[in-house]
């Protein structure tokens, strides 16, 4: 699979390490009342769709950036790749 890196252009997926569902960006607040339950869901439960799936890939053998890749789990087609930093900031995280 070729991943269209937003900064570096097309890169072989072999340069990357896979982490899993992109929802892992959204770490729950550990001080919330229901933190235990939310961390259970965050750590263990997955939507696991057949079709478009947003997931985290780490460019370990490249520029060491984290990407959010949207990929079709049925066809292996890669639909888009964004910097995870941009995705997190768009959600109002960090600066």
């Amino acid at each position: 699979m070729i991943i269209p890196h937003p900064l570096l252009g097309p890169r072989d997926s072999q340069e990357f390490t896979y982490l899993g569902d992109a929802s892992l960006i959204e770490r729950p607040d550990w001080q919330a009342e229901d933190a235990v339950g939310r961390f259970h869901d965050y750590l263990y439960l997955r939507d696991n769709p057949a079709g478009a799936h947003r997931e985290l890939w780490f460019h370990e053998q490249g520029d060491r950036s984290w990407l959010v890749v949207t990929r079709d789990t049925v066809t292996h087609e890669i639909i888009s790749a964004e910097l995870a930093r941009d995705v997190a900031r768009a959600k109002g995280r960090s600066k």
């Binding site: 699979m1 439960l45 939507d47 696991n48 769709p49 057949a50 789990t73 292996h76």
Partner: protein
């Protein structure tokens, strides 16, 4: 129709005109006591034991494709019970004992062949871990034997003992492990269940669950609504998408695992050989093909096919262990979809929806578990209580921190 030597002779002499289909092709009835979704090994075994052990006849198995067309037809046929942890070992040994009596039990030749499973070790630390695991197996009444380098050399002189990075330091042998004809497992269970009155309904895809006030009343299918007293889901590989129809999220990701077969060779391998350090395992089929595989591809997939980097990785592992196979031609390769659970262990449990039960999360170890999984799930469906060997396979173990983390990989399904 029972199979026997006499029957084979009689048919041979009368032109093979007396053979009948091994199971019926019934239309779905409007209501069953128990519906099993998924006509793979586990679903069929569940139906078989429901009928045979628990006396439930008003049962149907729903399969979206055909019997034997899913993961039970896409694996590498290995059976073993060489586990370490208490939650696992009694369960897999229960399964091994059922394998040993399977053919007499369902009167079908599944070609159960206990040719031994040998796990190679390559470091002192790995040998210590295998010694511990072997002792754990023996404490559970399971056979295990620790071999030194010479012991391995006597069994398999063709291995690459002088590999600079991974020299073979010995191995853990389970002589009762081996292989089984995987298609025959599905067919034997299907036939056995059918003979006891179970309806096996093929080409019937479940499109939704009818859930009223938190109680499951039946399923919507491509062949109409089918009502049920209880519904058991055993669709490993597709657990995520089927249970999503019932509004459930699971501690499971679906990944693809590739397997390979070489051209037919003369008898070569004494049994199953696994090479954990190089991510490779191999056995030889009765037709002579080397059946082998390695790790999962490592990312979510429902494609039932892998990608080339893993093909290269597996073949590298094979070449480094058995350099002689370099000139054997690769005949076929394929991928199966694995329910990779968050601790690498399965789930057999009721769900939050009343009368809806779940069996899945088998990672890439589902085949060897087929008989015990079926028995334990039938036990749960029939009695409402977990089978004594499957009490640890509950959903709430993640919430309680009681995970059965055989490989120590935690909540990282792509690493199992």
């Amino acid at each position: 129709m029972r199979y026997s030597g006499f029957k084979v002779l009689k048919e041979a002499l009368t032109g093979h005109k007396g053979w009948k289909p091994a199971w019926r092709d019934p239309a779905p009835k409007p209501h069953y006591d128990i519906l099993v979704i998924g006509g793979g090994g586990h679903g069929l075994a569940t139906a078989y034991y429901l009928a045979k052990v628990f006396g439930k006849a008003n049962v149907a198995v729903l399969e979206k494709g055909w019997i034997g067309g899913g993961n039970v037809g896409r694996n590498t046929t290995i059976i073993r019970s060489n586990y370490l942890l208490d939650g696992n070992e009694p369960f897999y040994e229960f399964s091994m004992k059922l394998w040993e009596g399977l053919e007499q039990d369902f009167n079908f030749n599944a070609m159960v062949s206990q040719r031994g499973v040998l796990n190679l070790c390559h470091t002192d630390a790995q040998r210590d871990a295998f010694r511990r695991r072997g002792n754990a197996m023996r404490l559970n009444g399971v056979d295990a034997e620790l071999l030194d380098t010479e012991g391995v050399r006597r069994m398999a002189p063709f291995l690459n003992f002088e590999n600079a990075r991974f020299p073979i330091k010995g191995g853990l042998l389970q002589p009762r492990g081996g292989t089984v004809r995987h298609d025959a497992v599905a067919w034997g269970y299907a036939r056995g269940a059918d003979m006891r009155g179970v309806d096996i309904i093929q080409n019937c895809e479940v499109t939704g669950f009818r859930i009223e006030n938190g109680i499951c009343k039946g399923v919507e299918t491509t062949r109409g609504f089918i009502g049920a007293g209880k519904v058991g889901v055993a669709v490993a590989g597709s657990s995520g998408r089927v249970m999503a129809k019932a509004g459930m999220r699971l501690p499971i990701e679906s990944h693809v695992l590739q397997a390979f077969v070489s051209e037919g060779l003369k008898p070569l391998l004494p049994g199953v050989i696994t090479y954990g350090a190089g991510h490779f395992y191999v056995s030889q089929s009765d037709k002579g093909g080397l059946v082998f595989g390695g790790d999962i591809d490592g990312y979510n997939s429902y494609a039932q096919r892998g990608n080339l980097p893993v093909v290269e990785d597996v073949c590298e592992g094979g070449m480094s262990l058995m350099p002689m196979i370099g000139r054997a031609k690769l005949l076929r390769m394929w991928g199966g979809i694995m329910d990779m659970s968050m601790d690498g262990s399965p789930i057999i449990d009721r769900t939050d929806t009343e009368r809806l039960y779940f069996n899945g999360g088998w990672c890439y170890g589902g085949f060897k578990a087929t008989p015990a999984s079926g028995w334990a799930f039938a036990h749960l469906l029939a009695t409402g209580n977990p089978h004594e060997t499957a009490t640890a396979y509950r959903f709430d173990r993640f919430r309680k921190g009681l995970m059965i983390d055989e490989k120590g990989m935690g909540a990282q399904p792509n690493l199992h």
